[in-house]
Symmetry: C2
Subunit: 308 residues, 2 copies
Amino acid sequence: MGKVLVFGHKNPDTDSITAAISLAYLKQQLGMDAEAVRLGSISGETAYALSQFGFEAPRLIEKAAPEAQQVILVDHNEKQQSVDDLDDVQVIEVVDHHRIANFQTADPLYYRAEPVGCTATILNKLYKEHGVEIPKNIAGLMLSAIISDSLLFKSPTFTEQDRVAAEELAAIADVDAHVYGLEMLKAGADLSGKSLEELVSLDAKEFTMGGAKVEIAQVNAIDVNDVMSRQAELEVLLNSVIEEKGLSLFLFAVTDILNNDSTVIALGTAAERACAAFNVALTNNTAILKGVVSRKKQIVPVLTEALK
Amino acid sequence: MGKVLVFGHKNPDTDSITAAISLAYLKQQLGMDAEAVRLGSISGETAYALSQFGFEAPRLIEKAAPEAQQVILVDHNEKQQSVDDLDDVQVIEVVDHHRIANFQTADPLYYRAEPVGCTATILNKLYKEHGVEIPKNIAGLMLSAIISDSLLFKSPTFTEQDRVAAEELAAIADVDAHVYGLEMLKAGADLSGKSLEELVSLDAKEFTMGGAKVEIAQVNAIDVNDVMSRQAELEVLLNSVIEEKGLSLFLFAVTDILNNDSTVIALGTAAERACAAFNVALTNNTAILKGVVSRKKQIVPVLTEALK
């Protein structure tokens, strides 16, 4: 068996990057020639976490097939979120915590998904099941992922199993999760120096919902107005993405990490219908979704139902 | 949470029936109101296994939604192999050992697939992971499933992990796997008293391959000629299924359980192309596939590649 590439989704967040590193390390201990790679730029938050625990960013790849026949997906399964040439390689394993959609294989594979808040929580179990000790610095990365995906344990995606994993990992990494976590989130919410293009693409994911193509981007902010003051310019950009990709909806969500609401800009033919699904009216293409911080748990299911 | 129905695929084989019973029991021990049900008739082989270990067949259902909001799938995931009203219920968990295709959810779920020969091998792990003891008679059912899926440990789908599970389960069930297994397979290969309609539908599965609808049915036999002597009548029946369902291919495989070859009847517009993929010529609509006993491992991947 040749080299196996391990990677998370495009526009990688902290979970996608750290899960690739953490699972590749586990696979190496089990004798596999596994390498963690990434499909996009590292966010400020992820850079902070990598630096705190002494890691370099994994190597960026554009395509997988030129260098490997087999791949392992972490933190995603939907084809449009994965490497462009996914059809040219064999997916031998998936470790994920999202819905399953637009994913198909010709052969049986190892697939491990659980409805928890973070891939790291599942990886914590896999280390135990294989009897492999988690190194201190990898535990730090895994903890960072749980903090990131749960907005410091506040998202409705955060489960009891995530809480247990976070406690175990904080103990191994020997850090105070709340102190470290707030610093990490602040590093990620620092939007100064970010271009509009970066804001829109940094954490954007594409979905197919009842035949409609939908893109949902999310940025964390300490002051939502830092972003919304540039609404007019943002809309020009979002509309150009809609046209280019043939989207029915672009939902751009700015999530306030201190008070846990999201302000959205919704554009596209399905924008009215999308906001109606949240029982809010679209005013000047924007709406505030109270208490909504999770794309996966609070946005995708609502839109999937509304657009089916 | 209300009742959760647990079921395997349509035209259930021994693994689908016993996995539903075994997983429902595990879930009950963990506090879930789970009930094993089935989507079709019990084969002679399965009836033998159930009777040997003191079980009744699970209840037959036509639809799931009238009695439950949530379901657990075992031994399958492809929608066309599942309950007709799958879209009207929530799939909260899947335990399977097949490729993933034509499967989609709106929400995250628990999905456990491994590339092993039998669902029971994965269930054996799940019992351990949850610290639940496997009762003697359930161990007997799980062993029966491994024997069935591996044609008494001879199929290429049979892995080292299946071997370990079979040994553990035989010890708990306190049976000689080879003696018991051959009796069980013979009970299943007794085709006397089976109508042609039963032969064709007993273990038939439908697949979508590159846009083509394909049905593959398999029966085990001790004497292949018992079946092939009725080829002319079989073809009439297969052609009527092709027309009714709009299939591009119906592959009907008669597997010799003693010497491990399969004789196939291939009909439909893709029949020539299908047999070419196996490097055999179709003569009088039939061909012998030497050493082919596994639909999943030796037939589906070859056809998926050929028809894509």
